[in-house]
């Protein structure tokens, strides 16, 4: 595949990813509302919200927080670009982690106890899902002998049949990243939580809008990684179905569960995630998958 084409797709990804992310958020809200028997907001509501936020007064609790907020956005966008350029999956993930750490540090740089606790919880949450996300990549490498995304595209066979255990582990990660029940611990999508909005309590106006956009990028990136599990052959559109299907599962889980605590989350993700991925690696080594 030509370099020009790759660069073009990277540019498109940077432009399209937030649009898709925002749209998905809109559909999410509509679907959730329908599940709860409400009418819900218009599908474009997330965009209206962000546009409105941009029109508000610029106001920060501290300059450092601002820097970290921008760093978060920049790094997430970089991760998306690397993904679109079909670079090493490990690089993409580490850049993503770095971005998320900046978000947590940004929250910790403010004196507000809500923000502090939110940042603290974000780090714990990070501790919960980061190993899973990293380990989930290992079976891919085992299978294809490479961490490069391009290799996945070139491999010619879908990964899901061999790696469905890792895929389930990644669904847990997705729920955490989307901040959905039962994992909406460091910052809930709505503010009816004991930490108000935890992590992002102290962001306001245009800066909150930036965080929101970065969050859209992050979600789209995660969904794309899930889509990697079936990107080849004549059935390439299945990857989109898989990504949207996993996203829909998260929505349903959100609506049938209450929020749980971080200690439970840490236990659950490690036990469930590591055992799922561990078995997956074991099965590959044994040649069963």
């Amino acid at each position: 595949m030509s370099t020009g084409w790759l660069i073009g797709s990277a540019v498109i990804a940077v432009i399209v990813a937030p649009l898709i992310g925002g749209l998905l958020r809109g559909i999410d809200r509509k679907l959730t509302a329908h599940m709860q028997g409400r009418i819900g907001p218009p599908i474009m509501q997330p965009f209206y919200d962000v546009i409105k936020l941009f029109g508000k007064e610029r106001c920060v609790a501290g300059k450092a927080q601002l820097v970290f907020g921008y760093a978060y956005l920049t790094l997430i966008v970089t991760a998306v670009v690397f993904f679109a350029l079909r670079q090493d999956l490990l690089v993409v993930l580490f850049i993503l982690f770095l971005g998320c750490i900046f978000l947590a540090i940004g929250a910790l740089s403010v004196k507000s106890p809500y923000s502090q606790l939110g940042g603290h919880r974000e780090l714990l949450q990070f501790l919960a899902y980061e190993p899973i996300l990293l380990l989930a990549v290992v079976p891919i490498a085992l299978k294809l002998q490479s961490f490069r995304i391009a290799t996945i595209f070139e491999s010619g066979q879908p990964l899901l049949p061999h790696l469905w255990l890792s895929f389930i582990a990644l669904l847990i990660v997705l729920a955490i990243v989307m901040r959905k029940s039962p994992f909406d611990i460091s910052s809930s999508e709505h503010a009816h939580q004991e930490l108000v909005r935890g992590l992002v309590t102290e962001y306001a106006g245009p800066y909150l809008a930036l965080i929101e956009i970065a969050h859209w990028y992050e979600m789209v990136l995660l969904l794309s990684i899930l889509g990697l599990f079936w990107v080849v052959g004549s059935l390439w559109w299945l990857s989109i179905i898989i990504a949207l299907g996993s996203w829909f599962i998260i929505l349903i889980v959100d609506n049938i569960s209450a929020r749980l605590t971080w200690s439970w989350m840490l236990r659950f993700t490690w036990v469930a995630g590591i055992s799922l991925i561990g078995s997956n690696i074991l099965f590959i080594n044994l040649g069963w998958m």
């Binding site: 603290h120 108000v196 209450a258 929020r259 971080w262």
Partner: protein, 359 residues
């Protein structure tokens, strides 16, 4: 992590009303708590001294938006005792009906808020949808959705005729059906709710007695205090047994309220079917003189009114003790030791009504 002090409230999204809990945290564990109230003191006790004792019914009704009818009922009971008025039996049965209607919608409101505080939005929406049915009945029978304003000294202002009683009965059955099919199973079986509520905010029977807990808070700890047992209004005729759970945690308190909702439906249906024919209002002559006490069971617990009159149109003193006022001290033993994430659930489990508390 060092000790942090979190000002939980007075304005906080999970708290419906302004109370401040100053939480001292060690990591995420609460080690100290200081409840601070006094943000919405309105001086209703004083206002009741300045107004005509008949008008006070409506002032007292506005102490609380959720259990307004029961406030009016308590006031009327006391005022009737002072003016030696005998309330006609039909009015007493109607009072039971509206009291229980208030209680039902209050409990449903609370169950919804609890679900919301746990981040269980869809349950919250479903419970409030069920509550709408109760509010519709309220509007149909009293003309208002929340503040019914049907109770006055000497009886009630509105009657429920046979046809309406039939319709109410039909709606109550439909409401019960909805509870059975959607809400009760989730409350009783959902693992995430259990995980969040079971064993959180323990209050033993001894502690409940020592701290003077009332209402569902004490009944969740196995203390069978329910003023309806004394048989005010027509509770004696209707028959009443308190709902008691013994676990003493947030989940037990939730179950007490959930079971009480069923009980309320039964009480309402009974009251309507047993209601005798006759007058609903008698004339009140004379002015309140001497002292009187009046106690009722609010959705949140025991409500105490103390009256002192001097034979004039105005009361000399009206003292109101609302149930949340008695329940706030229980937070002092329930919160320390819990996790920050459990604070909303535990705080809500006493069903704090700050507007009541401050008057």
């Amino acid at each position: 992590m060092a000790r942090t002090v979190i000002p939980f409230g007075p304005q906080h999204p999970v708290l419906p009303e302004p109370i401040q809990l100053k939480l001292e945290l060690e990591d995420e564990t609460v080690v100290g708590v200081m409840p601070i109230i006094g943000y919405i003191h309105r001086g209703i006790e004083k206002a009741a001294e300045l107004n005509d004792f008949r008008q006070n019914v409506f002032i007292c009704e506005r102490i609380c938006g959720i259990c307004s009818f029961i406030h009016a009922l308590t006031y009327c009971e006391g005022a009737e005792a002072m003016t030696s008025v005998e309330v006609p039996p039909r009015a007493r049965f109607l009072r039971v009906f509206w009291s229980e209607l208030s209680r039902t919608h209050s409990h449903l409101l609370w169950l919804g808020l609890l679900a919301d505080s746990m981040g269980f939005e869809s349950l919250f929406m479903q419970i409030w949808r069920a509550r709408e049915m109760i509010l519709d009945i309220s509007e149909m029978t009293a003309g208002h959705r929340i503040i019914q304003s049907t109770c006055i000294i000497g009886g009630v202002r509105r009657d429920i005729d046979k046809e309406m009683a039939k319709e109410v009965d039909k709606r109550l059955l439909a409401f019960k059906e909805m509870l059975d099919s959607t809400i009760a199973p989730v409350l009783l079986r959902d693992p995430t709710i259990k995980r969040r509520a079971v064993g959180k905010g323990m209050l033993s029977k001894e502690q409940a007695e020592l701290l003077g807990a009332v209402g569902p808070t004490s009944r969740g700890s196995g203390v069978a205090i329910d003023i309806r047992q004394t048989g005010y209004a027509a509770y004696k005729e209707v028959g009443f047994e308190p709902v008691v759970e013994t676990a003493g945690d947030s989940y037990a308190r939730t179950l007490v309220r959930a079971r009480e909702v069923y009980q309320c439906v039964e009480l309402m249906r009974k009251a309507l079917s047993m209601m005798p024919e006759g007058e609903i209002l008698v004339r009140v002559d004379g002015y309140p003189e001497g002292e009187a006490m009046s106690r009722t069971e609010q959705p949140r617990g025991e409500l105490i009114y103390y009256f002192r009159g001097n034979g004039t149109n105005n009361l000399e003193r009206l003292k109101i003790r609302t149930p949340t006022f008695a329940n706030i001290p229980t937070l002092l033993v329930m919160l320390p030791g819990c996790e920050m994430a459990d604070v909303p659930v535990i705080t809500l489990s006493i069903d704090p009504c700050i507007a009541c508390t401050e008057r």
